[in-house]
């Protein structure tokens, strides 16, 4: 029996519902030796701002029980650098590219889209409104519905391509942001970013990260992410890209049953770069086993 794994996020067609999470897969080339990029549903690249950005000092990551902290601070080549350095690499692949965008101020979000929008290689924008590791922007927009809405509307005005706000997890009512995203014309919602967290070295009394605080990701946060996806699914009809601690096909399926139309593999790439491919294959096996003809059949089927 054959099953349809294809899904659509706005106008973006994915051959299966599995992408990689921004910041955990570089810009494409880094894992190309180990992962058949053409098999992915989409490649989501590391956050891109309008300008080159240096990011935080080191140490930038720290391992915790069942997870890790990161405070990379969104270093990167900026939109122009991305186009020069990575678009030529990505263009030949038969896989949509989701560019994760961020800005220090609201206008930056518009700027980066303006700079990227002519590139055919760019299939969609994931709007990072939830980076726990930059002072200037990101998470400030993600925890206040007003400025959140304004960013969405601004970006919506600049592009016809799908826009996918990435919500901050550290809010009491995530549904309000999902609703605001829908009202602002978003095509999908991405949830969750790493959770604001911290670790301190009790010998040196210094935080383990140069940035002091960082974002917690990995298996530790999966139950939090599942709950947020379920909350968002109740608040909006928009498709959801779910992520947070996906390590096994079963994890991805759990996200989909909770309400996610697609999923992203993040930290697991570091543990095992074959995770995304294993997840794709595992979803297919599950669908076959359960007699589903299409992956869409399992989305949001939780009995709750």
């Amino acid at each position: 029996m054959s099953v349809a794994l294809e899904i659509k996020i706005g106008s973006m067609e994915m051959k299966n519902p599995v992408t990689v999470a921004s910041g955990t897969f570089g810009y494409g080339p880094e894992y190309a030796d180990l992962v058949d990029l053409n098999r992915l549903g989409a490649i989501t690249v590391k956050g891109i701002g309008p300008e080159e950005h240096v990011g935080n000092a080191t140490p930038r990551t720290f391992e915790t029980r069942g997870g890790m902290l990161n405070a990379i601070g969104l270093p990167g080549p900026g939109a122009k650098g991305f186009i020069e350095k990575y678009v030529p690499f990505l263009a030949p692949y038969d896989v949509p590219v989701i560019v994760n965008i961020w800005g220090k101020g609201m206008e930056d979000y518009g700027k980066v889209v303006e700079m990227l929008d002519a590139e055919d290689t760019v299939s969609a924008y994931e709007i990072n409104l939830s980076c726990p590791n930059v002072k200037e922007g990101g998470s400030a927009f993600g925890t206040d519905t007003d400025s959140f809405s304004r960013v969405i509307e601004l970006v919506r005005g600049k592009t016809q391509k799908p826009i996918i706000p990435k919500l901050a997890p550290n809010v009491s009512d995530i549904g309000a942001f999902a609703k605001a995203a829908e009202d602002g014309g978003a095509d999908a919602i991405s949830i969750m970013n790493s959770y604001p967290a911290m670790a301190i070295n009790i010998e040196t009394l210094e935080p383990e990260l140069a940035n002091r605080t960082g974002g917690l990701s990995g298996p530790a946060i999966k139950p939090i992410a599942i709950k947020l996806v379920w909350d968002v699914a109740k608040a909006t009809k928009l498709p959801i890209i779910g992520m947070g601690g996906i390590y096994e096909p079963e994890d991805a399926i759990e996200f989909m049953v909770a309400g996610a139309s697609a999923v992203a593999v993040g930290t697991a790439n570091f543990t095992d770069p074959s995770t995304a491919i294993r997840v794709i294959d595992g979803i297919e096996s599950y669908l076959v086993e359960k007699g589903h003809s299409s992956v869409a059949n399992i989305v949001g089927t939780v009995k709750a």
Binding site: G26, E30, R60, E63, M68, P75, F270, P273
Partner: protein
């Protein structure tokens, strides 16, 4: 770069806290160049999600071995690995050491497990020179005989004087350097703790010789994706981040902008 399910074919105490792990890894082994490393997923370490990076000590068509020191949760869990166990590795990673420049005199400088990272370099080097090894005690100076068998003149230094010169590696290196007629003909290959790297880098710059430093930075992905392992590399108008795992781990001393 390959991901491979390698099999433990040998695992034993080497000396002190150091152990040797030899893996059957026919995909990774043949690709290895001196100074490269691998990322190892420690089996049964389920509450820790990151791989551990280790320099490749030896490699051939059948596989590779590493020489590791038990220092924390991951390396302690590795102690229980048994012959026949499966270990997931990614490698070879990084660029390793460049080839010796024609006409230069090769000098190896290492501390602790750094010796392991230099063994393949010592072996393939067309010219054999001097190897300065540092360590806290005699227990921390690894593989002297192996380097001697390859034809290297090994000069150990230990903090406690239990082997060779008493003091840091600089205590044996500096007097020797002072005797050299043509310091600029030296080409150093260095792998060790940060202060050793810095000390050698400073000397290289001051005296005008070349020093290839294998940088030791904590890593997460090992392949250049996460931007954890960055150091500052000088550019014409300032500096940029360079990833030790992908752009390194070996950098020439003049490239590095040392922090603090």
């Amino acid at each position: 770069m390959k991901q491979e399910k390698a099999t433990v074919v040998e695992h034993h105490n080497f000396q002190g806290d150091y152990r040797i792990l030899r893996l059957a890894a026919p995909a990774v082994g043949p690709l290895v160049k001196p100074g490269q490393f691998l990322e190892l997923r420690v089996p049964r370490l389920d509450d820790r999600i990151l791989r551990r990076p280790f320099s490749i000590y030896k490699a051939d068509a059948e596989g590779a071995s590493i020489l590791y020191k038990t220092v924390g949760r991951g390396t302690e869990a590795m102690v229980s690995l048994q012959v026949g166990d499966e270990v997931d590795i990614i490698g070879p990673l990084g660029n390793g050491f460049p080839e010796l420049t024609k006409g230069k005199v090769p000098v190896l400088v290492a501390g602790g497990y750094g010796n392991a990272a230099l063994y393949l370099k010592a072996k393939e080097s067309p010219v054999k020179g001097i190897a300065f090894f540092g360590g806290r005690t005699a227990q921390d100076i690894l593989c002297i005989e192996e380097f001697q068998v390859l034809g290297w003149d090994v000069r150990p230094a230990t903090d406690d004087g239990s082997l060779g010169t008493k003091g840091l590696v600089t205590a044996s290196f500096d007097p020797w350097m002072a005797e050299q007629e043509n310091v600029q003909s030296l080409e150093l290959f260095v792998c060790g703790p940060n202060p050793m790297l810095k000390a050698m880098g400073d000397r290289a710059i001051e005296h005008g010789f070349t020093a290839w430093l294998s940088m030791d930075k904590n890593m997460a992905c090992g392949v250049g994706a996460c931007l954890t392992c960055v150091i500052k590399r000088k550019t014409t108008d300032g500096w940029e981040w360079a990833r030790c795992c992908k752009d390194g781990p070996v950098f020439e001393s003049r490239e590095i902008l040392w922090e603090e």
